[in-house]
């Protein structure tokens, strides 16, 4: 290297030191200081308190004690009083370690979150549970239909059913006997529509659904299965 090359390097070094010192003193970039402070404040204020115990007693079919113990468990897990979708998915996935329960959890979340607020409050939670555990068979069937009807338009199409079925099969995971083939959900959907779709119009309405289910013995029996859970 000749003298010139060393000079250039020396100048570069000096300029670099200059820049570092200026940055240290905040003179170089005065503009970027204000932005970073505000982002943290938003999340901590979100909290929710449920309606009073009496109102919930009216709205649901749980006794006072049951509501109390349900809330205590709920509050223990989610001190802020709200369950967002990610937390919900995590919680639900705990019970299905082998498969991927996130898609089905997504559908469940939408079924519980009736006002589409993006988070489940205790009221949603307990009203949903009340239907599932203390409701009549018709109410339960209605709830199930609501689950399947993803866009809540009153009709369950084959695509929606396929999505639901795929998510259910996803929960099984890969290690099953016999193993889940790629078209298993599709076959299952076909069978379902065969049974449910009376007028063969490619969609299942709520009435078709309820009527068919009421005629099916095993479905009616299985609806009563979880009555004593709480």
């Amino acid at each position: 290297m000749g003298l010139d090359g060393m000079e250039v390097i020396a100048i570069v070094v000096v300029v670099g030191l200059f820049y570092v010192v200026l940055k240290q003193f905040g003179i170089w970039e005065p503009l970027s200081l204000e932005e970073s402070n505000d982002g943290d404040l938003e999340l901590s204020m979100v909290r929710h308190q449920p309606e009073g115990l009496d109102q919930l007693q009216v709205q649901t079919k749980f006794t006072r004690k049951e509501l109390q113990s349900l809330y205590r468990g709920f509050k223990n897990e989610c001190p802020s009083g709200l369950v967002d979708e990610e937390t919900f998915k995590t919680i639900y996935s705990q019970f299905f370690p082998q498969g991927d329960a996130t898609t089905y959890a997504h559908f469940l979340f939408n079924a519980f979150d009736m006002d589409r607020s993006g988070s489940i409050r205790f009221e949603d939670f307990v009203i949903g549970l009340s239907v599932l555990l203390r409701g009549s068979v018709t109410e339960k069937l209605r709830w199930a239909f609501n689950l399947y009807d993803i866009n809540k338009d009153g009709y369950v199409t084959k695509e929606e059913m396929l999505a639901i079925m795929t998510s259910i099969y996803d929960m099984m995971g890969r290690y099953t006997l016999p193993s889940v083939r790629d078209d298993s959900p599709f076959d299952h959907v076909e069978k379902f529509f065969q049974k449910m779709d009376r007028n063969r119009d490619g969609v299942v309405t709520i009435d078709e659904f309820i009527e068919t289910c009421q005629k099916d013995e095993s479905i009616m029996a299985s609806m009563q299965l979880f009555e004593n859970v709480i």
């Binding site: 060393m6 020396a10 705990q94 019970f95 555990l133 379902f192 479905i219 299985s222």
Partner: protein, 607 residues
């Protein structure tokens, strides 16, 4: 599963969504346990009441509170569970049930905390991450302290037991506080080390011109004979010391390998080598170099100074930091030397003739010495030189705090053991005060000891007197196996201030029926320590009496004890030592002292 338990009912309820699409009928659900989750459980911990749901406690069924073990603590009359434990620590334990995380409070004592955890059946490994490191650190400190205490106890015990000559000498060498001889040794060797080092230094001082010479001669050349004699004396002392240490070391191989012995050898070798090859001119140059090693004698001072030893440990333990320092310095030196060389290449009569030549400049600059023998002339050289000196300060300053903190840790540790040694005395005095428990206890214990005396037909004597006599009697001591016997009565001596007794109970090799009437003389074969010989009898006719086999493991002496009824009276009476005429007294050392241990044992040598 504890974390997911509250949501399980929800997940089961949501399974209703699968029912209409199910291909097969559902299995039967398991029966529901209809538990009465009715009331709160009240936990009364030393008066502080804690209340919680039963479910909270049952989350961890293999702990005390979560299992049926808590029923043992149930009080019917107040319908609560009562625990006689610390409520402050219990708070954390109950929080563990509530939140699933166990925390360690910083202000609590670690052993108290451990005890509580052990009582409630909780393993400490589940302490949460936030507190785990603190817990482990405190645990380690505690272990070190216990280790120190144990070692101190052991060393103290060894003092009272009689050691072999070899072991005494070794302990005298290692620890100057053990006896006067050790202290003398310590000071003598220290003095000679200092003399030797100063002689080495003074040898080289110019001492004025010789009578018919012009140039100055060093003192070493002028007074060669005197220095030689001094050196000889010192080396002799060092050699004797080294040989003695080698002889008395418990493990000679380990001793030879140790650092201090190597330093000793290196310190005295030059003299002997010099003796061997005095006249050979060719080798004398090398011999002069060897004299440099004489300066290693100064390291012998490290036996005398704890601070030096600590410095040595520190450097050893900071080896990795020192290595890093060295490595980073080397890197920086090479980089800057290269840069400086090429920067200064252009200038005429530059001292930077090569990159290795520039090393010297870089080192001198980075350590901020700045001799000024090599100075950059060009502007670039000056710029890079300044960067070099700035970065040098940083690179050297970085590992230093680590080394300093290590040093202070070792220093504090050694200070702590010194402090505890000093505190032991007052602590024991305090314990003696506290340990006067209650009268009932002492009375019953006294009676128990009396029963034992009657059983074995022997009596208790005071420990101190026994040992004094033992030490006076013989110097040749063999290793005694009975240190364990001695260690057990320590609790007695500390707790029973009134009645200091020593268990001189022979071990189970007693071959005589002891319960027989002991008015008659019966020979008893003892296989451990016998009775103490009183001092008067020691002087009189020691050779005929039973040799006071304080240490011998198998004593074939027969000691007859004729414990007079007076001897078995409780403390407070001072029966006179009756020495039946004609038999050699083997009474215990109770001459005139105010303690209680009485009983006359008449020793007769037989067998």
């Amino acid at each position: 599963m504890a974390a997911g338990a509250p949501w399980l009912p929800f997940a089961r309820a949501a399974a209703i969504g699968w029912m209409p699409v199910a291909s097969a009928p559902m299995p039967v659900p398991p029966p529901e346990k209809r538990r009465g989750r009715t009331g709160l459980i009240v936990l009364n911990v030393s008066g502080t009441k804690f209340q919680t749901w039963p479910d909270t406690l049952e989350r961890y069924p293999d702990t005390l509170l979560g299992s049926t073990e808590r029923d043992f603590f149930f009080l019917e009359e107040s319908n609560e569970f009562f625990f006689d434990r610390d409520p402050d620590i219990f708070r954390h334990i109950l929080n563990f049930y509530r939140t699933g995380k166990l925390h360690f409070p910083r202000q609590e004592c670690i052993s108290a905390y451990d005890e509580e955890l052990a009582f409630f059946g909780i393993i400490p490994e589940i302490i949460g991450d936030c507190c785990y490191e603190e817990y482990k650190d405190r645990h380690r400190e505690d272990q070190e302290r216990i280790q120190d205490d144990v070692e101190m106890e052991q060393s103290r015990e060894l003092v009272s037991v009689d050691l072999s000559f070899r072991e005494t000498m070794w302990r005298a060498f290692e620890n100057p506080h053990t006896s006067t001889m050790a202290l003398v040794l310590y000071y003598v060797t220290g003095f000679f080390i200092a003399v030797s080092v100063m002689a080495n230094v003074a040898e080289t001082v110019p001492c004025g011109a010789a009578p018919n010479r012009v140039r100055q001669v060093s003192c070493g050349e002028r007074y060669a004979l005197a220095f030689f004699c001094l050196d000889t004396a010192c080396v002799m002392i060092f050699t004797v010391e080294y040989v003695l240490r080698l002889l008395v070391a418990p493990s000679r191989y380990k001793f030879v390998k140790s650092v201090m012995s190597i330093i000793d050898v290196v310190a005295i070798m030059p003299y002997y080598i010099g003796l061997v090859m005095t006249d050979n001119e060719d080798v004398s140059g090398a011999f002069v170099t060897l004299r440099v090693f004489r300066v290693f004698r100064i390291f012998k001072f490290s036996r005398h100074s704890a601070g030096l030893r600590i410095l040595g440990y520190t450097l050893k333990s900071c080896a990795s930091e020192l290595g890093f320092l060295l490595f980073s310095l080397t890197m920086a030196i090479i980089i800057f030397a290269t840069v400086m060389f090429y920067a200064e290449k252009g200038s005429s009569d530059s001292k930077f003739t090569s990159i290795p030549a520039a090393f010297w400049y870089t080192i001198v600059t980075m350590t901020t010495l700045g001799y000024g023998d090599m100075v950059p002339q060009t502007i670039m050289g000056k710029i890079f030189g300044s960067v070099c000196s700035l970065s040098g300060v940083l690179v050297i300053a970085l590992p230093v705090p680590v080394i300093v903190s290590n040093f202070s840790k070792f220093y504090l540790q050694s200070q702590r053991s010194e402090k505890r040694r000093a505190q032991k005395v007052s602590k024991e005095a305090g314990q003696a005060l506290v340990c006067k428990i209650n009268h009932d206890y002492e009375v019953h214990q006294h009676h128990l000891l009396q029963c034992l005396e009657k059983t074995t037909n022997h009596q208790f004597v005071e420990e101190k007197m026994y040992h004094e006599s033992c030490r006076e009697v013989t110097l040749v001591k063999q290793v005694s196996r009975s240190s364990s016997i001695l260690s057990s009565p320590h609790s007695l001596t500390s707790c029973c201030a009134r009645r200091k007794k020593n268990f001189n109970v022979p071990n189970s090799n007693m071959s005589v029926a002891l319960q027989s009437s002991f008015q008659e003389l019966s020979t008893i074969q003892i296989s451990e320590r016998p009775r103490v010989v009183s001092r008067s009898s020691l002087n009189a006719n020691f050779e005929e009496t039973v040799p006071l086999n304080c240490d011998q493991a198998h004593i074939t002496a027969a000691v007859i004890s004729s414990p007079t009824p007076a001897g078995t009276k409780p403390a407070g009476t001072k029966p006179a030592g009756t020495k039946p005429a004609g038999t050699k007294p083997g009474g215990d050392g109770s001459t005139g002292s105010t303690n209680d241990s009485q009983g006359n044992i008449v020793g007769v040598s037989a067998l």
